[in-house]
């Protein structure tokens, strides 16, 4: 903000000045524009300006000459009268300046309000005077059509000078420039100088008016200052000409205001658009960021699944349902005769067989027709591309999110003021709702607790050997559990294969659902076991969570892979079955036609109901069903666990506490805590299922969206109503990249089997969009052949030639290697810089402390101790300014050349002593007086606070400055 304002101002100045120069004598032109409309609603800056402009215009138009003449007369008179009163040592250069001051003093008493401080008035009057001088000058020059160029140059120089001076100290400036530039013999430079000065003053007043609201003053004072400044501007602005800059400034202020408002509204709108934001915030405020991180992850997952759902639903399911052949038209779209009786039973549907199996929900329903409907929608191609796109999109989004998170992680350096920020900036002043306030209080307390845990954790010391031993032991136990559960799953899968071979009909519910049940149970109990084990390790909760996550992840991974292996076995079985069916099929067809018709392609005459046609096992649908079943049962288990484990337990604890022998709430069962690791992994695991299965069951993303949606509400409710916060609320790492990494891993793992089945297993002969092809991906080459010109196919053929692909892959690998190396080096550099910054800050702190001590010792005259640095800084600036002017002055015209060096030298002599005291007790200016003019261009610095009780020039204050990034304004 600070910087911005400054830039803004300087920009304005240049703008204004260039305009001024250009239009010095074309004021008429601009007057036309001055009348343009200004938004009355916005800021009276614009309004005032218009008023002023209006009146001034009138005056100017009526009697420009007389007014100027009059002004000149007054100026002269004033100069002569007051000049004699002064008793300063007389130097030609000082004369005019003194005059001004004198006049200012007398004028101040007459004209201003009683509570306006004299310094201000002085300045005003001075401006007035110089302004008049400027006018006079202009008059004297007449139309100066011939001199135009030179004038402009001079003007510019003067302006530049003015600006630089302003960047130093205004008051001193006046003295300097007044005395430095004018000698009575050369009127031109003086008045140019003065004109610039006046412009500056007016500009400043305008800016003061515009920035008045930024001052930390009491309203009374602001009002007084405002009145005074307005008077001044009104008086001179018109005389000076256009308020172009001001108008522009006002416009700019207005626009920034509107822009900010718009941004704020847009921000609000955006937040309002984020689903469940309020819910998550509420949870975060009560349970800490770690629990919230799960819900944020859940929401992110929901977003991804929405897109996957959009893809499969929009490009596969809907086209097939609308444009594909209707149900019952083909054997693959009809329930077989044997199942017809039970096809609509709920149990069958719940098992996703019967009508559910022969619908768009599963792979088998789709026809291998190349194009469907009047749109000529290429169904098989679309199906294939959606399958590939789903996986590609998931990879892209996961990796992108990870990269972004990593960025955020690296950039943040907010450990330095962690507690202070929490203390001073955590309350949201916009809160007006008692409930929100309660939440906010809770969240602040939680965040403090989080920070305290971190802090204590960093201070903790313990017996290393014992911890090490315990950790090894814990890992050993965890490994044993993993191996055990892995074997159990393996065993169960084997058994179920045996059952499947013998026919499932002979077995009960348990045997049929054994695998799912065992996996769900393992998923339920193993995490608890790991939890117990991890309590041995005594890690920081965040680290412990990671270990926990890793272990459960391994467990789920084992489960997943046994599941996949079992599926593969089953696929192989089905493939063999298919061969038999194919053979039987020919026999059946032969029997159908009774061998009368030799060609089987002209079959139509004999109508067979599609339900009666024998068909293959269609392993793809089977795989899809398997995944859908697993997802559904997983969801059910999760919900039931929540209801029993959390809700019923909470109800029990809450209501039986009155009539129980021990305290249930704090004793054994107590309320449950939210299980982050289990839930996160459940989510990831589930997502892996979706990725694997969605190729064979296009309905899977839809089911998952539904699941995530309900689980969001259910879990939010369960957390808020049945859970208690963890004992040690800890802060989640800001990027949940750990979750993401696991997700990526799962994604990779689940892609493997899917890709394997697509690439190397032949599709079923009588179901699905790829039936009749030897491999699924042939749909691509088919499309290339039929739908693209032949040259394209040729090009594609060349491009897919290994001779071209291998170098390409090599190139990619090389570039990855290169990018990786660069990023590593950047990271290192970053780290280095951060370290440097830190040590610098520490150094500063130390130095400041020393300084503060030193100055404490010399409490009486703190000014003596500080000056060297400030003085150096100040004088350096001052020196550079005039010297620049010098060089420019030489290239300018003669008169200027004479004037400049003089001025430069005087500016040095005058300003250095001047700036030093100003630098040392900034409080003196800020206390009662107006701030030094420079402050007007900047938002208020620390000066303002000092108003009543701040010890003037307290030693600690200047001592801090060197180390401070934002020093008080007088150094800039």
């Amino acid at each position: 903000m600070d910087e911005y304002n400054k830039d803004n101002c300087s920009f304005l100045l240049t703008e204004k000045y260039s305009i001024k120069i250009m239009t010095c004598h074309l004021s008429r032109l601009y007057k036309e524009e001055d009348g343009s409309d200004v938004d009355n609603e916005e800021g009276s800056v614009a309004e005032n300006e218009e008023n002023v402009k209006g009146t001034v215009k009138e005056v100017k138009r009526a009697t420009p000459r007389t007014r100027r003449g009059h002004a000149r007369g007054r100026a002269r008179r004033g100069g002569e009268e007051d000049g004699d009163d002064e008793d300063e040592p007389r130097r030609p250069g000082h004369r005019r300046h003194r005059n001004r001051r004198g006049r200012g003093r007398t004028g101040g008493n007459e004209g201003s309000d009683s509570d306006v401080d004299p310094a201000k008035v002085k300045k005003n009057k001075a401006n007035q005077k110089s302004k008049e001088d400027g006018e006079e000058e202009e008059d004297g020059k007449g139309d100066k059509s011939g001199k135009g160029k030179n004038e402009k140059k001079q003007d510019k120089k003067a302006d530049k000078k003015g600006k630089k001076e302003k960047a130093n100290k205004k008051k001193k400036d006046k003295k300097k420039s007044g005395s430095g530039s004018d000698s009575d013999s050369e009127e031109e430079p003086i008045t140019e100088e003065e004109l610039a000065k006046l412009k500056e003053e007016v500009e400043e007043k305008k800016k003061l008016i515009a920035t008045l609201r930024n001052k930390p003053w009491k309203m009374k004072k602001k009002l007084a200052v405002l009145k005074e400044a307005q008077l001044f501007v009104e008086k001179f602005e018109g005389a000076l000409g256009k308020g172009k800059g001001k108008k522009f400034y006002a416009y700019k202020v207005m626009m920034t205001k509107k822009w900010m408002k718009f941004q704020r509204d847009f921000e609000n709108f955006k937040t309002a658009c984020i689903p469940w934001e309020m819910k998550i915030k509420e949870i975060e405020s009560h349970f800490g960021s770690s629990v919230a991180s799960y819900f944020i992850f859940l929401r992110w997952m929901y977003g991804i699944n929405m897109i996957l759902f959009g893809l499969t639903f929009g490009l596969v399911m809907v086209p097939e349902a609308l444009m594909g052949k209707p149900y019952g038209s083909l054997p693959r779209k009809t329930v077989p005769r044997a199942e017809e009786a039970s096809a609509m039973n709920f149990a069958t549907l719940w098992d996703f067989s019967g009508f559910a199996q022969y619908s768009v929900l599963f792979y088998g329903y789709y026809n291998n027709q190349r194009t469907i409907g009047w749109l000529k929608f290429r169904m098989p191609l679309s199906y294939f591309l959606v399958g590939v796109g789903t996986i590609g999109y998931s990879f892209m989004i996961v990796i992108r999110t990870m990269a972004r998170n990593a960025n955020e992680d690296g950039g943040g350096d907010d450990t330095s003021f962690n507690f202070s920020w929490k203390m001073f900036t955590s309350w949201d002043y916009l809160i007006g709702n008692p409930e929100t306030a309660d939440n906010k209080f809770a969240s602040i307390t939680t965040s403090f607790k989080e920070a305290i845990v971190e802090e204590q954790e960093s201070r903790k010391e313990e017996n290393i050997h014992l911890t090490r031993f315990l950790r090894v032991l814990a890992n050993f136990l965890a490994l044993c559990t993993l191996a055990g559960s892995g074997y159990l799953i393996f065993f169960v899968v084997r058994r179920s294969q045996k059952f499947a071979l013998e026919g499932l009909e002979n077995y009960g519910w348990w045997e049929r659902n054994e695998v799912n049940m065992v996996m769900s149970l393992l998923g339920m109990f193993c995490p608890t076991l790991f939890d117990v084990i991890s309590s041995l390790e005594n890690y920081h909760p965040r680290i412990a969570l990671r270990w926990q996550l890793g272990r459960i992840f391994a467990l789920f991974l084992g489960n997943l892979y046994t599941f996949i292996i079992a599926l593969m076995d089953e696929i192989n079985l089905k493939l063999e079955e298919e061969k038999i069916v194919k053979y039987n099929m020919t026999i059946w067809e032969a029997s159908l036609y009774n061998g009368t018709i030799p060609e089987n392609s002209t079959a139509p005459p004999i109508q067979v109901d599609p339900a009666d046609v024998p068909r293959g096992p269609c392993w793809e649908t089977m795989v899809g069903q398997e995944f859908v079943r697993l997802t559904v049962s997983d969801t059910m288990t999760t919900y039931i666990t929540i209801l029993i484990g959390d809700f019923l337990r909470a109800v029990f604890v809450r209501f039986f506490n009155y009539c129980w022998c021990w305290d249930l709430e704090y004793g054994f069962p107590s309320y449950s805590e939210f299980d982050i690791s289990g839930n996160v992994l459940g989510l990831i695991f589930n997502q892996g299922m979706i990725w694997m299965g969605s190729f064979y069951a296009p309905c899977l993303p839809a089911i998952n969206v539904f699941r995530l949606h309900t689980s969001m509400y259910l879990q939010c409710w369960a957390v808020m109503c049945c859970n208690v916060p963890q004992e040690r609320v800890f802060k989640a790492s800001r990027s949940n990249n750990f979750y993401m990494a696991m997700l990526l891993f799962i994604l990779f793992l689940s892609t493997l089997p899917a890709v394997y089945t697509i690439v190397s297993i032949p599709p079923s002969f009588d179901c699905g969009p790829f039936s009749g092809k030897t491999r699924m991906f042939e749909v691509i080459s088919e499309t290339l052949e039929h739908d693209f010109p032949s040259w394209f196919g040729k090009v594609f053929g060349y491009a897919s030639n290994p001779g071209l692909i291998l170098p390409f892959i090599l190139l990619m690998v090389l570039s990855i290697y290169y990018l990786n190396a660069t990023s590593k080096s950047y990271k290192e550099a970053n780290l280095e810089l951060k370290k440097k910054l830190q040590s610098q800050a520490e150094e500063n702190k130390r130095r400041n402390k020393q300084k503060a001590q030193k100055s404490n010792e010399q409490e009486e005259n703190p000014f003596e101790t500080e000056p060297p640095q400030t003085k150096q800084k100040g004088s350096k600036q001052d020196e550079s300014t005039p010297s620049q002017d010098n060089s420019q002055g030489q290239s300018g015209n003669e008169g200027k050349k004479m004037g400049q060096p003089q001025e430069a030298s005087s500016s040095q002599t005058l300003q250095n002593p001047g700036s030093a005291p100003n630098g040392h007790h900034p409080m003196q200016n800020g206390g009662g007086n107006l701030p030094p003019p420079i402050a007007v261009t900047r938002p208020p610095g620390p000066r303002g606070v000092a108003t009543p009780g701040y010890p003037l020039g307290h030693p600690h204050f200047p001592g801090v400055q060197p180390g401070m990034p934002r020093g008080p304004p007088h150094f800039r």
Binding site: M1, F419, T425, G432, A451, E455, Q853, P939, R966
Partner: protein
């Protein structure tokens, strides 16, 4: 709407507009709010600049401030007498500073005042403890409070005097991500 005009003269409105971050309408609305709190005391006609002050109790019950843990301090630091009673000028001033248009620097200055409970121009440990207790509704234990206060001083105190001056405060807060732009 003749009576609306008589609340303020045009000059007054202009002046208020220049001194605050509000538009004409907002200032009138603010006056409405001010008037609403004590219809008997606050006149509708403000053209004469009447000297009316409302006690803190009324102000802090405004819905805008009601839930704020620092409401008393806010009102106190904006009142001219430091006691918490606000004239209309102070009232407008307060909302101007608290408005979203107010720049960070200005807010920092007043924030410092607000957190400086004992008005000694330093935020010392006692101030910090008070702040913390208000923020957490005294839910932290004494140990935790001391820990936090020590940490705050350690972090933000640049000159080692064991308390935070405005320079320390501004330095710290200017880097804070949550402090308003």
């Amino acid at each position: 709407m003749g009576n609306k005009q008589t609340i303020f003269t045009d000059e007054q409105l202009d002046a208020y507009q220049d001194c605050t971050f509000f538009t004409r309408k907002e200032i009138l609305r603010l006056h409405g709010r001010y008037h609403e709190m004590a219809p008997n005391v606050v006149p509708m006609d403000y053209t004469k600049d009447p000297d009316v002050k409302l006690p803190m109790q009324l102000i802090i019950n405004m819905p805008e401030l009601k839930e704020n843990p620092f409401k008393e301090r806010i009102v106190e630091s904006f009142s001219e007498d430091g006691e918490g009673s606000l004239s209309f000028n102070d009232f407008v001033d307060m909302f101007s500073v608290l408005s979203e248009m107010a720049p960070r620097e200005l807010k920092a200055i007043y924030a410092f005042k607000i957190y400086d409970f004992n008005t000694d121009n330093f935020i010392c440990k006692a101030d910090l403890e008070k702040t913390l207790n208000k923020l957490t509704r005294e839910e932290l234990t004494a140990e935790e409070i001391t820990l936090v206060c020590e940490k705050v001083i350690e972090e933000a105190d640049m000159d080692g005097d064991g308390k935070l001056g405005f320079a320390d405060f501004e330095n710290m807060i200017s880097k804070a991500p949550d402090f308003l732009r």
